[in-house]
């Protein structure tokens, strides 16, 4: 830093020196240039150098001037001019000096500015230098820290290495252990395998023994079969005997029935004989009763007659009263009806013809007539309606026709107009043609006149007059020609215009119509196209894909679709692999089956196997039947045993649940809820469980049991309950 400052100071000093040294040089140069510029200055300087002497001389001369006047005056004037000259040079030199001093000052100012700027830069650089030094210090600190850290990490690395080595050692040791284990396991497995082989051999032996046993059983079965056939024969004989016994019994019963029926018949005959003896008495009694009955019947008939008469009278009375009331109402009705009839008659008189008799028939006929008329009117009306409809349709047709005609008329009118125009044109042409004719006539006349003039009036008129007249005539003809030309031109123009206008019209209405039709078709087509395009546009708008160029479609990588595709692909692969596997297995199985089939067919033991199988099944069934029978037997025996025990000892013992719990209820108990629960321990000791009944004992049951054992306790309880029951009975 100090070096930099010192170097900058050196530079500054050198700069200042250069300024100070260059200043005189500059001055010299300036003076040279000034002398060069002025040109006349060397002379002046010479004059200047001489001037002091001269001025001295001048002063001397001035002093001397008074002495020699004319010379002195000249010299004086010369000196004066010199003086003025020198003054001017002095002023010039002064100005130069000032200018130079100003320039010098400016240079100094510039130098100062530069020095200040350089100083500022120097300060900034010094500051920067300090900053850089600080940074270097911090970096050194950091480096130190990093070095420390590096040493620490190397230490840690060493430690980790050691640890790792230890772990390696451990793992190797473990590996050795595991190897040993595996060897042990191998040995064990070998041992087990040997054992299993031994077991297999043993099972083979067993199988052989069972087979021999099976053979023995088969032999015995055959023996049993022989016995069974003997037994069945015996059974058949027995059945025959029993049947003959049954037949004999039936015969005995029939005979017994016959004997009984004979006894019954005897009793019946006895009773009928007794009844026959008492018949005459009974007949007398019957007659008496019949007479009595007749008498009673007559009495009843009389009573019924009287009752009927009374009822008849009552009904008559009721009917008469009803008839009276009805008569009154009928009279009233009659009056009404008469009035109505009168009205009807009036109506009939009003409506019937004057000379005919007034009667309902007439009225009816009148009404019928009216109705007929009505029908006719209706028919007429419908017909008129149909007529009007028909007429309306005809009117519409006519209107349509009328419209068509109107159109035709219009077309014709247009044609007429065209024709009129044509006519007008023709007339105009005619006029022009007639004019032309007139003109040509005039021309001919003129020529004639000329001819006559040339022939007849030559003598009369002077040459001049002749020429004039001819001139006039010729002028007139010229104007006539001009007029004709103009009219013809006009006509040509009009014709052209009309041609332009009428050419399409001239071709006719049909062409226009055709054109119109084609245009209409095109219009329709375009309209349809437009609608289609609009629809498409709408669809596009709906889909929103009109300017797909400006857009890009993006999606998230881990989307469900991608996952599903992946999983489905995996599944497909898996399934295909499984299919392959199953195919292979299927093939294998098929091969195996074929082999087995071959084996079985080759040995021919198939049928034998089936026979054996059926036999064994039959045996199983018979064994099952035996077992069922045994079960039933056992159940019956058990029930009997229980009942006998209950009756003999007075207690019913029920086993409850799968555990060895027992419920004991006495024969003499007061209710079904009076029971005691007892359980058998694993050490074959009986223990009493709590039950609602066990709480009812007056000295607690445990004490009683402690005093005596179970049989004594139960016998005591039986006695007590029995006494209680008998006491309550008595």
């Amino acid at each position: 830093m100090d070096d930099i400052r010192s170097s900058i100071d050196d530079m500054m000093d050198r700069f200042n020196e250069s300024i100070t040294h260059s200043a005189p040089k500059k001055l010299l140069f300036n003076r040279l240039s000034a002398s060069f510029d002025l040109g006349a200055s060397p002379k002046k300087r010479r004059l200047e150098r001489e001037s002091p002497e001269r001025s001295l001389n001048a002063s001397a001369t001035s002093l001397n001037s008074s002495a020699n006047d004319p010379l002195g005056f000249l010299e004086n004037s010369k000196l004066r001019t010199e003086l003025i000259e020198t003054k001017a040079t002095v002023i010039q030199l002064r100005n130069e000096i000032e200018q130079k001093s100003r320039e010098h000052r400016k240079a100094l100012m510039l130098a100062e500015n530069k020095s200040t700027a350089l100083k500022e830069q120097c300060d900034i650089t010094s500051k920067k230098f300090l900053d850089v030094q600080d940074e270097i210090k911090t970096l050194q600190n950091r480096e130190m820290a990093f070095k420390n850290e590096a040493s620490r990490t190397t230490i840690e690395l060493n430690r980790l290495k050691l640890k790792h080595d230890e772990a390696m050692m451990k793992l190797q040791r473990e590996k050795y252990l595991q190897d040993e284990d595996s060897r042990n396991a191998h040995l064990c497995i070998n041992n087990e395998l040997a054992e299993y082989r031994r077991i297999a051999q043993r099972s083979d032996l067993e199988l052989q023994s069972t087979r021999s046993e099976l053979d023995r059983l088969r032999q015995r079965h055959e023996e049993f079969k022989a016995r069974v056939s003997g037994f069945e024969e015996l059974r058949a004989n027995h059945e025959k005997q029993t049947q003959s016994l049954k037949v004999a019994n039936d015969r005995i019963q029939e005979l017994e029935f016959e004997i009984q029926s004979y006894c019954d018949w005897k009793e019946v005959t006895k009773t009928s004989q007794e009844r026959l003896a008492s018949v005459p008495d009974l007949l007398a009694e019957v007659e008496r009763l019949r007479s009595h009955n007749k008498h009673l019947n007559t009495l009843i008939g009389d009573k019924l007659l009287l009752e009927e008469q009374v009822h008849d009278y009552k009904t008559r009375l009721d009917r008469e009263e009803g008839a009276r009331a009805e008569a009154a109402s009928l009279q009233v009705k009659l009056v009404h009806v008469e009035q109505e009839l009168k009205e009807w008659v009036k109506v009939a008189q009003d409506h019937c013809l004057a000379n005919t008799l007034v009667s309902p028939m007439a009225l009816r006929s009148r009404i019928e007539q009216l109705l007929k008329e009505d029908i006719i009117h209706v028919a007429e009306k419908t017909s008129s309606d149909s007529d009007t409809k028909h007429l309306q349709t005809t009117v519409r047709d006519l209107e349509q026709k009328c419209a068509i005609y109107l159109k035709n008329i219009e077309d014709l009118n247009i044609g007429l107009k065209r024709h009129k125009n044509f006519k007008e044109r023709l007339q105009r042409k005619l006029i022009t043609v007639s004019k032309e004719r007139d003109f040509y006539k005039q021309l001919v006349e003129n020529f004639d006149k000329d001819m006559t003039m040339s022939n007849a009036s030559v003598a009369d008129m002077t040459q001049d007059m002749q020429v004039r007249y001819r001139m006039e005539v010729l002028e007139r003809t010229v104007t006539g020609y001009k007029d004709m030309c103009a009219t013809l031109e006009r006509e040509i123009q009009a014709m052209r215009q009309q041609e332009l206008l009428n050419e399409p019209a001239g071709e006719g209405y049909d062409s226009v119509k055709k054109e119109l039709d084609t245009l209409r078709l095109e219009n329709d087509r375009l309209r349809r196209r437009k609608e289609e395009l609009e629809l498409e546009m709408m669809h596009r708008c709906l889909r929103g894909d009109f300017n797909m160029k400006d857009l890009k479609v993006v999606h998230f990588n881990e989307n469900p679709a991608a996952e599903a595709y992946e999983s489905s692909k995996n599944m497909m692969e898996k399934l295909q692999a499984e299919i392959e596997r199953l195919k292979r297995r299927n093939k294998k199985l098929e091969d195996d089956q074929e082999q087995r089939l071959n084996e079985t067919t080759s040995t021919g033991g198939m049928t034998l196997n089936f026979k054996e199988f059926n036999q064994l099944r039959a045996e199983l069934e018979s064994a099952n039947g035996k077992m069922r029978k045994m079960k039933d037997c056992f159940k019956a025996a058990r029930e009997e045993f229980r009942d006998v025990c209950y009756m003999l000892l007075g207690y019913r013992i029920d086993r409850i649940g799968a555990n060895s719990n027992y419920r004991i209820s006495s024969m003499f108990a007061e209710g079904p809820d009076d029971y005691l629960d007892i359980s058998l321990n694993e050490s074959n000791c009986l223990a009493l469980l709590e039950s609602p009944y066990s709480h009812t004992f007056n000295p607690p049951i445990d004490q009683q049991l402690a005093a005596s054992n179970f049989p004594a306790f139960f016998s005591a309880l039986t006695l007590e309950l029995f006494q209680r029951a008998t006491v309550t009975m008595t």
């Binding site: 889909r543 993006v554 999606h555 989307n559 469900p560 679709a561 599903a564």
Partner: protein
């Protein structure tokens, strides 16, 4: 006057994007349920817009939708999305069977429209939600006429953004969606004042 202005309802672009993303969340879940893309026992009842909407319980779907919709919200708030498509495809053949398009149209709102990033609207939230509710009702009514999806289906969400959009990690560019023999039905549309959302369902017409 000043207090009235202070309490005035105001939705910014961000708020609008949030509303739309919420609609998309419920809409996509509803479509997943209504179209039977996942079994019905994978869905839970929730109340939104005054309707009962069934939302998927599957954590995979939830995270997927969260990722996609958060990115969508960011893009929407910059008006960079033209269309969001939910595509239903056959899981085995990858054939596109249905495409639910949510077309986005930017609107200027009714606030100060000099700065395009600070647009606002004063449309009421309840009104917007009512509009959304109508669309949701229509979505659940579409089941009556859309063809039966009788295969294992899956779905994807595709976003149509501007060409100059920078893609974040895990996002890919994919091709356009093509449906064979398509038929389009436009449902109601709703607007937040800054975005107008048209819902259109395109489906494959069974021949």
């Amino acid at each position: 006057m000043s207090t009235a202005q202070a309490t005035k309802n105001c939705i910014t672009l961000k708020g609008s994007a949030q509303i739309i993303v919420e609609y998309l969340k419920y809409g996509i879940n509803s479509i997943l349920f209504q179209r039977g893309i996942y079994p019905a026992e994978d869905f839970n009842n929730t109340q939104q817009y005054g309707l009962t909407i069934l939302m998927s319980k599957d954590p995979k779907i939830q995270t997927f939708l969260e990722n996609v919709l958060s990115q969508t919200e960011e893009w929407l708030s910059k008006n960079m999305i033209k269309k969001i498509s939910m595509v239903i495809t056959n899981a085995h053949s990858k054939e596109v069977l249905e495409c639910w398009d949510f077309n986005m149209q930017a609107e200027l709102g009714d606030g100060d429209s000099s700065d395009p990033t600070k647009l606002t609207t004063t449309k009421e939230l309840s009104r917007i939600q009512n509009e959304i509710r109508d669309v949701m009702r229509q979505i659940s009514a579409t089941v009556s006429y859309l063809p039966l999806l009788d295969c294992i289906c899956t779905f994807d969400v595709m976003i149509h953004t501007l060409q100059n959009t920078e893609l974040p990690a895990k996002w890919d560019e994919t091709g356009a969606i093509v449906i064979q023999n398509p038929q389009a039905v436009q449902l109601r549309s709703f607007s937040t004042g800054l975005h107008k959302v048209d819902t259109v369902v395109n489906y494959k017409m069974s021949t």
